[in-house]
């Protein structure tokens, strides 16, 4: 099993979720994060003091899939999250050694 960790632009969440649903992914977990990267932040103003906010709001989408679904899932996310503009985000893949569904105790691919 693999854990796909995608950092995306917040307004792309619905697209990504739909794309994943289409290919049969049934569970995802989303976290609000702040991203720092090539994309420039914005300036904020406070009583004449301007300061640059480098961190931009992003969403981290975590999906665990079995190995066979990996490529397809990456594909789906990439496509759905792409705007072609800087700051679209990244996808990181790592290995998951074990999976358990708390409710039933199922493990492995059944637990995804």
């Amino acid at each position: 099993m693999k854990m796909i960790n995608a950092i995306i632009k917040p307004f792309k969440l619905d697209d990504v979720r739909e794309a994943l649903s289409e290919i049969g992914v049934q569970g995802i977990t989303v976290t609000e994060v702040k991203g720092f990267g090539r994309q420039k932040g914005h300036t904020e103003l406070y009583r004449g003091a301007e300061y640059v906010v480098d961190f931009l709001p992003k969403l981290k989408v975590e999906v665990v899939v079995n190995d066979s679904a990996l490529e397809q899932t990456i594909e789906a996310i990439s496509k759905a999250a792409n705007t072609g503009k800087i700051g679209d985000g990244k996808i990181f893949v790592s290995a998951i050694e074990q999976s358990i569904r708390i409710r039933t105790g199922e493990t492995g691919d059944d637990a995804i």
Binding site: L45, R47, G48, A49, E50
Partner: protein, 450 residues
């Protein structure tokens, strides 16, 4: 007692031509012995109770919100706590000795400078002389005393913005107690207690508290923020307001409540109150729009904090003028306040390097000074004001300036002395760890938002 009545009607010495209640002033002047017997006017009383409510609302929740929104979320409660505790404390102090020392007129005589020109005595301590029958002009004395109490509450509360996010709560309470007794009460007495009072006799025009309230608090704030030192990280670390919606709500409540402050200072529901309301609205709107425009030009975008600050600057500046200028004068005062306070709270502050957390100096001291000085000009009948009596504009300007300078020095010096003593005895500032953690948890074991 008598002088309190005169205070009600404004500045007897210098202003002759204030229609409607002009007549009453003369009456009072002619028949001082029956002044106390003036009949209760339910309309005046209705308005003054309402005005009192409005001024209290300025502090809680108005000012509290305005300030609380600007600090970091870890300190949000500490600001509310300070404003609330000040509200409670000043109420008690005002009852115990403040009202008496502010408005006692024993030993005062027009033109004579003596100890009673500076501060009154303790004859009315614990408000022992206020009965169910006592009157102040056309309203119950209980109402007058409570109305003035709300001024005694908001003035110290204004200072909170200067030392926000780093002062010890206990030291704050001690400082405020001393500051109230030494800086606030005497200033009220000197400006508003009538013939024989120092600034009153000079002929200083301060209808609703440019010197007494705003310059007083603004200078104290400057001194305090310098003596406490900068917040850890200032100015390199960004310390953006944690909730600007609170700040703008607070500004709105200040605006709304300020009609109690200014129109209430007429101590009657007549043309004086009406005109005070109109000019307050005009100056505030003008200052808000002016700040917005100046910021738009200099920064490229107008901001919410900017327009809110502009509104407060306008409110401050029109305060001393609100009893004697007309709509035209209000427009000019609004423009001047918007421009001057903008630069004071932005360029000046950064140039000087002090950390006046929420710009008490930039908005209240500068706004108060602008207003107090311009009152000397726009009160002139030629600008649609109520007139300067026998004074020329030049003379009145000088009188106003004298009043401003006196306030700056008086308050500046005594505030510094008080703070020094508190610092040496109990320390002014929280320790670094507490500042880091935030005052909410460190001082109150609470968090604003769970």
């Amino acid at each position: 007692m008598n002088s309190k009545l005169k205070n009600i009607f404004g500045f007897k010495n210098s202003i002759k031509k204030i229609s409607v209640y002009g007549a009453i002033i003369s009456m009072v002047a002619l028949l001082p012995s029956i002044a106390f017997a003036q009949e209760l006017d339910t309309g005046d009383t209705a308005w003054m109770i309402t005005a009192t409510v409005l001024v209290l609302m300025m502090t809680i929740p108005g000012l509290s919100l305005f300030y609380a929104g600007m600090v970091r979320s870890k300190n949000v409660l500490s600001v509310f706590m300070q404003c609330f505790a000040i509200t409670g404390l000043m109420t008690i102090l005002w009852v115990v000795f403040g009202y008496s020392m502010a408005f006692d007129t024993t030993g005062m005589e027009a033109g004579v400078v003596n100890m009673s020109s500076i501060v009154g005595g303790l004859g009315n301590a614990f408000m022992s002389e206020i009965t169910f029958d006592s009157m102040s002009g056309t309203i119950p004395e209980s109402v007058f005393a409570t109305f003035q109490m709300t001024f005694a509450i908001i003035t110290p509360a204004l200072i909170v913005g200067a030392f926000a996010e780093r002062m010890k709560f206990s030291s704050m309470l001690v400082f405020m107690t001393a500051w109230f007794a030494i800086c606030y009460v005497p200033m009220v007495h000197m400006v508003w207690s009538g013939d024989g009072a120092l600034l009153w006799d000079w002929g200083v025009l301060d209808f609703a508290g440019g010197t007494v309230v705003h310059i007083n608090a603004g200078i104290a704030g400057l001194v305090a923020c310098i003596m406490l030192g900068k917040r850890k990280g200032y100015p390199t670390m960004a310390m953006p307001p944690h909730n600007l919606t609170y700040t703008i709500i607070g500004a709105a409540l200040l605006w709304v409540g300020w009609f109690g402050f200014n129109a209430g200072s007429a101590v009657s529901a007549g043309t004086g109150a009406g005109m005070a309301m109109l000019v307050t609205q005009v100056a505030t709107a003008t200052a808000a729009i002016t700040w917005m425009i100046v910021e738009w030009i200099t920064h490229g975008k107008p901001s919410v904090l900017g327009i809110a600050s502009g509104a407060v600057a306008g409110l401050v500046a029109i305060t001393p003028a609100s009893g004697t200028v007309g709509p035209e004068g209000a427009l000019y005062i609004g423009i001047a306040a918007g421009i001057c306070c903008f630069f004071a709270a932005t360029s000046l502050k950064r140039a000087m390097g002090y950390d006046d957390s929420l710009d008490v100096f930039g908005v209240h001291a500068i706004g108060g000074i602008v207003g107090a000085i311009l009152t000397g000009i726009f009160t002139a009948a030629s600008f649609g004001g109520s007139g300067l009596g026998d004074n020329s504009i030049g003379l009145q300007l000088w009188i106003q300036t004298k009043g401003v300078l006196f306030t700056i020095f008086y308050t500046g010096i005594f505030t510094a002395i008080i703070l020094k003593i508190v610092d040496m005895t109990m320390g002014l500032r929280v320790n670094e760890e507490d500042e880091h953690l935030g005052l909410d948890l460190a001082a109150h074991d609470e968090r604003g938002y769970a």
